[in-house]
């Protein structure tokens, strides 16, 4: 498949995620949108990695493998982030009985 397809899919996923973060007030949904954006980037990385893989012609070439490496990093970081993020949301619900981020403006004062 041409690389363009992957790029457009990733862009679409990223845009959806971003719009979600910007417009939604529910903390859990914002959280899921962030994950969506991360995965869009992962998809793009994997696609480019595949494109460059073996492009040097030699079976021993490592061209493109670093893209996959980054994907693993991002997945690990995302997993860590999920655990922390969800814990914060749980604490938030316990305190203000809501997951609406617009209630979280008290730092201002």
């Amino acid at each position: 498949m041409p690389i363009n397809y992957y790029i457009f899919l990733s862009l679409a996923l990223f845009a959806i995620g971003m719009i979600g973060v910007l417009t939604r007030r529910n903390a859990i949904i914002i959280f899921m949108c962030v994950e969506l954006m991360l995965n869009a980037v992962n998809l793009l990385l994997v696609a480019f990695s595949k494109m460059h893989y073996l492009s040097a012609g030699s079976p021993f070439s490592t061209a493109g493998t670093d893209g996959q490496l980054f994907v693993f990093f991002i997945m690990v970081v995302a997993a860590a982030e999920v655990s922390v993020g969800l814990a914060i949301i749980v604490m938030m619900y316990r305190n203000i009985h809501s997951v609406d981020v617009n209630f979280l403006n008290r730092l201002k004062h």
């Binding site: 973060v21 910007l22 417009t23 981020v101 617009n102 403006n105």
Partner: protein, 629 residues
């Protein structure tokens, strides 16, 4: 030991050790120990200097390399001492006269507290150490270290009695005046490094070294070095510090004025004579500056009433003579005069110290008089000093001054006339000083009269030794016409080329010598008639101008110090308070104001932050897109 000259490092080492021991042990050592260490260190240096001198006399000269001092890029400056005819003569003068002054000091400074006594001797030793470094250094950098060390020590010693504010001012004045000269020296140094790539005397003065310098370079370098010399050696326009340097203890004045410090400039120019001979314009300037200084200082000395001030201006005047000699190309005569001057000027300063000691600290000659009966040794040695400096044959001053006058005559009769006039003034003011101080009636208080006494042995012995040296010191340079052979000049000839024979017939030489001798004797007689029974009276008219030193200090105060103070006031009150402070406060206020204006952005709404972030990132992308070329 293969070569005795390797021992040269011992010469500055002894005074340095003396400085360290006396400086660190000042609270524990007794006065006797301190004096012995201080004087002994210089004596040890003197003995080593003597050994080296006889080596050099036997034709053994060398540049002794010890270690690599500075090595940067292509420039390498060794820590090396140059032992040759010129430096060995200076070593003998410095350590010899310096030793006598140290011995004298043990008695003169005896009333000081032990820790101050030790401090005094520590400074004195450090001073001699710096001076030795200056004359022994085989390159301009080592010389500069000594040059600066001498400046520092003069500051410390002039301000030795630091509890009096005016003494501190005198010390600062000496230091600052010297700094002006030092700056010029430093620039000359960099210039040399830039052009020749070396500062060693042997390399700079060699044919290859000189080939790298254009005529302009040589002129600028020699001129800058000369400016440096005017600071150290107290020439116009930087001479005013030297009379003020009288604030220090009297033996210090003797040390500064006779053996060390002020001769540094002469030494430096004599050492660089190869360069100077290539810059006739600069030599002319030096000759005229020397002449003007000799005349100006001599005229001021005519009307001074402080015994040490008269001697101070006399020193400035004699230094002027030495620069005249340098300027007329008679480098050997200048070194000769440095030597004889070291003897008789040290003698007179120590003699004046003896007088001040007897008078209980009084320095005003108007309050003295008739001291000859009470202090015969001081009197007679002082007479010898006066006769020597006045240039009456056959004492040392006659020969050296005659050599200078002769070389001035060879250059131009006008110079000779002015120099002779200054020499006559010298005779007049020295004998004025002698007669006012030692003859006539005593004009001080009864208490002082009762207290009058001859100084102790430790003070009179150096006086006697110096008097003997003042009498015989001239015989090393008896000119050919008087049956001598100019031994000193010939001794120095490997370092200082003998000037081309000046075309003066022996008859002319005899006439000039006779003329100056007769005129000097006339001056002495005149001083005797006028001042044998001195009575105090108010100076008027021209005499008042002279008494106030031509108002040079006031002039400097008006044209340099006052404007600088106004500038400093402006910078302090207007520039610093308004502009600099305003700038700093303005930055603070701007940040404060900006913070208040942008406060609304921090709304606390998470959504708005994210939106801002996204918009900003997009903006950066857009900018990147257009800037990417």
């Amino acid at each position: 030991m293969k070569n005795v000259l390797q021992l040269a490092y011992l010469i500055p080492l002894f005074p340095l050790l003396g400085f360290l021991i006396n400086g660190l042990g000042r609270n524990k050592l007794s006065k006797g120990v301190i004096g012995t260490i201080g004087s002994g260190a210089i004596l040890a240096s003197f003995i080593v200097s003597l050994i080296l001198f006889f080596q050099v006399k036997g034709g053994n000269t060398e540049v002794v390399n010890y270690f690599n001092f500075i090595s940067v890029g292509n420039l390498s400056i060794p820590f090396a001492f140059q032992i040759d005819q010129l430096s060995s003569i200076f070593l003998l003068i410095i350590t010899g006269v310096g030793f006598l002054i140290h011995v004298y000091s043990t008695s003169y400074m005896h009333d000081e507290k032990p820790e101050h006594f030790a401090r005094y001797f520590a400074y004195l030793n450090l001073f001699v150490f710096s001076m030795l470094l200056l004359v022994m250094g085989a390159n301009f950098v080592i010389m500069f270290i000594g040059w600066e060390g001498v400046g520092l020590c003069s500051y410390l010693l002039i301000g030795f009695w630091f509890k009096k504010p005016e003494y501190n001012k005198a010390a600062s004045k000496a230091f600052i005046m010297n700094r002006i000269g030092d700056l010029a020296f430093l620039i000359a140094l960099f210039w040399l490094i830039g052009k020749v790539g070396s500062v060693s005397f042997t390399e700079v003065f060699s044919a290859e070294g000189l080939a790298k310098l254009s005529t302009t370079d040589i002129t600028v370098i020699t001129l800058l070095l000369f400016v440096g010399a005017t600071g150290k050696s107290a020439q116009i326009p930087l001479y005013t510090w030297l009379p003020d340097a009288m604030a220090g203890p009297t033996p210090v004045s003797a040390l500064i004025h006779a053996a060390t410090m002020v001769t540094a400039g002469i030494y430096m120019i004599a050492r660089s004579n190869v360069l100077y001979s290539l810059a006739p314009d600069v030599l002319n300037i030096i000759a005229w500056v020397g002449l003007a200084t000799a005349l100006l200082a001599a005229s001021i000395a005519l009307k001074q009433n402080d015994i040490k001030k008269v001697l101070a201006y006399s020193t400035v005047s004699q230094l002027g003579f030495m620069f005249l000699a340098l300027g007329t190309g008679a480098y050997g005569a200048a070194v000769f005069h440095v030597m004889t001057h070291a003897f008789f000027k040290a003698l007179m300063f120590l003699g004046s110290g003896s007088v001040i000691h007897a008078m209980g600290g009084e320095q005003d000659i108007r309050k003295m008089g008739g001291l000859s009966k009470k202090m015969p040794v001081t009197f007679w040695t002082f007479v010898i000093g006066c006769v020597a400096i006045a240039g009456i044959p056959p004492l040392s001053g006659f020969f050296s001054k005659d050599a200078i006058l002769l070389s001035a005559y060879a250059k131009s009769p006008v110079m000779y006339g002015i120099a002779l006039f200054a020499a006559l003034l010298t005779a007049f003011y020295m004998f004025r000083l002698l007669f006012i101080t030692f003859t006539g009636k005593f004009r001080g208080t009864h208490e002082q009269e009762h207290h009058l006494h001859e100084s102790p042995k430790a003070m009179t012995l150096p006086l006697i030794v110096l008097a003997i040296l003042s009498v015989i010191g001239g015989f090393v340079g008896v000119p050919a016409v008087l049956g001598g052979s100019d031994e000193l000049i010939h001794f120095l000839s490997p370092v200082i080329a003998i000037a081309e024979g000046h075309h003066i017939s022996h008859t002319t030489e005899y006439i000039l010598m006779g003329l100056s001798t007769v005129l000097v004797l006339g001056m002495v007689l005149g001083a005797w008639v006028i001042y044998k029974n001195y009575k105090e009276k108010e100076n008027t008219g021209f005499a008042k101008v002279l008494e106030n030193k031509w108002y040079v200090d006031e002039l400097y105060d008006t044209i340099i110090v006052k404007p600088l103070k106004v500038l400093a006031d402006f910078l302090n009150n207007i520039f610093d308070k308004k502009v600099v402070d305003g700038l700093v406060n303005g930055v603070g206020r701007l940040v404060n104001y900006g913070g208040r204006q942008f406060r609304w952005i921090q709304s606390g709404q998470v959504g708005s932050y994210v939106l801002l972030m996204v918009v900003s990132i997009l903006l950066i992308f857009v900018v990147q897109f257009f800037l990417r070329k």
